[in-house]
Symmetry: C2
């Protein structure tokens, strides 16, 4: 009795046409990172548990997958050892990475003296989380991260570069109009302090602020006030600022007018946000796609300066599809060196699967192969091989049908595979010195034509260029 | 006290220059697969244990890594449950893949009705094995696999295609001269039967045959005879054939002369091997790089027809760097459909690390960035951004130095990063309408030149093309 072939729950496995589309998405992201000179890094899927889990007992550890070899498992299951009083199975020594940030911290700390700072790296790999299985949550998914890491200090200029990279990538991906939103955590901290909230309250206040847009402003004000009585005026002013401020430098002017004598941190936040906004515009990001949004906070612990979120204008319900920010110190758990950084991350698997479901992404329009050489007559096999080899030498992706199936079966295969062009050479064509080129695409203007044997490479290239399926 | 940052034993983690070289190697392999129209597939790193481990208790399972979420671990460690008589911790439900063949079988069986047969897929992913830690053995490593899977039957023509793909890839990788060796398991079986060995002895005999080249022929003959007394003549003839047969069709003629009345299986093997050899030559693989070698067997269980091995001529001690063959049925554990296939695999991690160690591969010659725009004067930041944006629009990979470090520090960064060109614009250059282009390469003929601002993109492109570091 065969075992039922099936994938574990919570993973995204694609059929080839979708995998091809996904591959092209990852390639575009990678090309966008490389266009700005970022260097590739890959780390192992598993890390030593004590290195990965420096903070124990957190939410994170609950989602960690541990890895054990068969030998280690046996040890934990040994009845004699288990019977000993106080026996506890040891924590497995390996665990799968749950993000790319902790491995980056470990990598930079481990190789600190061999890296060139500011260190600019990109990393496109899968991460693993033992999530409760539910729609849209994955236990294995791709993250595409870029970070710039400084030694001791890192110039603010890098904060302006990341949105430009994101703009380049999402323009090329062509998922529709999108907006990159900018804010600054120092500005937020300064504002909340100005209004009288203590630092330990900021998280709760920002958590309520995060509901703006999904909930009426008055309701958000009420919820903020509920956190601490007597904050009616402050809450109303804060919410008004955040909901009425424009998306450009006008927002900074509103803050400056509201707070006549800004604290150091608030003044710094204003300066930084202005500088990042202007720097991003200077890198060619159009103003209508770049908005200052004072309500964006991105969690409380990690980010300390610039923060980013990115939204597809036509699909706001997806939430931010690309987020990140500036942090004070990357690798405090691993080194005494101070390593400030700024980074941004695209959750490619979730984004792809959602856009696929909404038909924003279709399967790739064509096969990998651009040409299929049909196998019409067995004695002509060497001619099919030569034809394919010539086309490949010209940079085209070419398949030769194997064996001697009936022509109808071969054409059905080509059709299902979505190969744009098929080439047919039978005795008739061979004797006439021609190749029959069949255009399999729906958009074909000429379905079929005889091309002189010596001109076939050029003819195929012209046909493919006509509808943009040129070689990759 | 910080945790010491370190990777687990048995993984290959690279610094960025080496990672870049490795990335280019994987890209070349992928391009080679796509040139022949193969489709990408990716499968999850973990599979359900009962699906992955259909054959229990084998050598394979000893090397499997099991994956457990924190919740599942706790359950196995519960003292109350452990105290129950007969308690055995359950086998974890997930396990990391140890090759790409079992996941391919599962994939094809699971998606059988959605795939287009003959199904041509490539897969470039990491696999995991709990190997004893030792030099050259990895617990995580890349495999690059291609397979063609037929439904019920698969034409022999595909067997000739795989060596042509391998030839294209290793030619482009330029690791030095290489030889692809071909053999056929039916031919081997027929030969051994002809000489009187029973099928159950074939494994042992072939195991000894595998020593040819590493051990004197007479010694191999002795070892074969030791398996069964009275086989002196047969063993001598077999070894003589394998050591004296030429690398072309002459080998097949020698077999035909030796065995006057060949069995069906031997005749089939001869025909197949001749056909695959000729088909591969027809696809443009030069005869001096393609050798028939009757001594190649590739293990006993799996392969049933054509088998392949590939050797770097100057590094025979690496053994076969790319191997594979024809098999009867891919997915018998998962489906009743008969799915014959032919495939080949490159163990990219091991190959890369060995060639790196032998200095056959160096670190990539240049950075990802082709140009670094230096940040000389803060007020000119917008000009640097414009310059970089123009160059990027022309398809170049460009970095802008962030912040206002001293020029010497910026140039040191450029030098360490191996960026080919740096651009410098100070007030003097700005006012004169020029950009100072500094060629950082050792091969530079002109170290430094002023280029009119309007001509900088063209000048940079020409300089880069001159030494072959054009955009990717």
């Amino acid at each position: 009795m065969p075992v039922a072939p099936r994938t574990p729950p919570g993973v995204l496995e694609l059929l080839p046409p979708q995998q091809l589309a996904f591959q092209r998405m990852l390639d575009t992201i990678r090309r966008g990172f490389e266009r700005f000179g970022f260097l590739p890094v890959e780390t192992p899927a598993f890390e030593l548990s004590d290195v990965l889990l420096t903070k124990t007992g957190g939410e994170t550890e609950k989602q960690v997958y541990f890895v054990q070899s068969t030998g280690a498992l046996k040890e934990g299951g040994d009845p004699a050892r288990r019977a000993e009083p106080g026996f506890a199975p040891p924590r497995p020594s390996l665990a799968l990475r749950f993000d790319l940030t902790v491995p980056l911290a470990r990598y930079v700390a481990e190789h600190e003296h061999e890296l060139n700072f500011p260190f600019r790296r990109y990393q496109i790999q899968r991460v693993y989380r033992g999530e409760r299985a539910q729609k849209g949550r994955y236990r294995e998914f791709y993250q595409c991260d870029i970070d710039v890491i400084g030694k001791d200090t890192l110039a603010l200029a890098y904060d302006a570069e990341l949105p430009a990279i994101i703009h380049g990538i999402f323009s090329e991906l062509a998922f529709g109009a999108f907006t990159i939103k900018l804010n600054n955590r120092k500005l937020l901290r300064g504002l909340l302090e100005h209004f009288g909230w203590k630092v330990e309250q900021h998280g709760d206040v920002l958590h309520e602020i995060d509901r703006l847009g999904k909930m009426a402003s008055e309701e958000v004000v009420k919820r903020i006030v509920a956190l601490e009585p007597g904050t009616e005026t402050a809450a109303a002013k804060l919410v008004e600022l955040m909901t009425t401020a424009p998306g450009d430098e006008g927002a900074l002017e509103m803050v400056a007018q509201l707070v006549v004598a800004p604290s150091t941190v608030l003044a710094e936040g204003l300066d930084e946000l202005r500088s990042v906004y202007r720097g991003t515009l200077a890198l060619g990001v159009p103003a209508q796609q770049l908005k200052i949004d004072l309500s964006i906070a991105r969690g409380l612990d990690y980010y300390t300066g610039t923060v980013y979120e990115t939204f597809l204008d036509e699909h706001p319900r997806l939430g931010s599809i690309c987020s990140g920010g500036r942090y004070e110190n990357l690798a405090g758990h691993y080194t005494k060196s101070k390593l400030p950084g700024v980074g941004i991350s695209i959750g490619a698997t979730r984004l792809f699967s959602q856009l696929l479901e909404m038909n924003v992404i279709g399967a790739a329009q064509a096969a990998v192969a651009q040409v299929l050489v049909l196998a019409v007559e067995a004695p002509l096999a060497a001619e099919y091989a030569r034809l394919a080899t010539e086309l490949r030498a010209a940079g085209l992706n070419v398949e030769v049908y194997g064996g001697n199936d009936k022509l109808a079966k071969q054409l059905k295969y080509a059709d299902r595979a979505k190969v744009p062009l098929t080439l047919l050479v039978g005795t008739r064509e061979r004797d006439a010195g021609v190749v029959k080129v069949k255009d399999m695409r729906e958009t074909a203007t000429v379905r079929e034509q005889d091309v002189p044997r010596g001109e076939v490479v050029g003819a195929v290239q012209r046909l493919l260029l006509r509808t943009g399926t040129a070689s990759t």
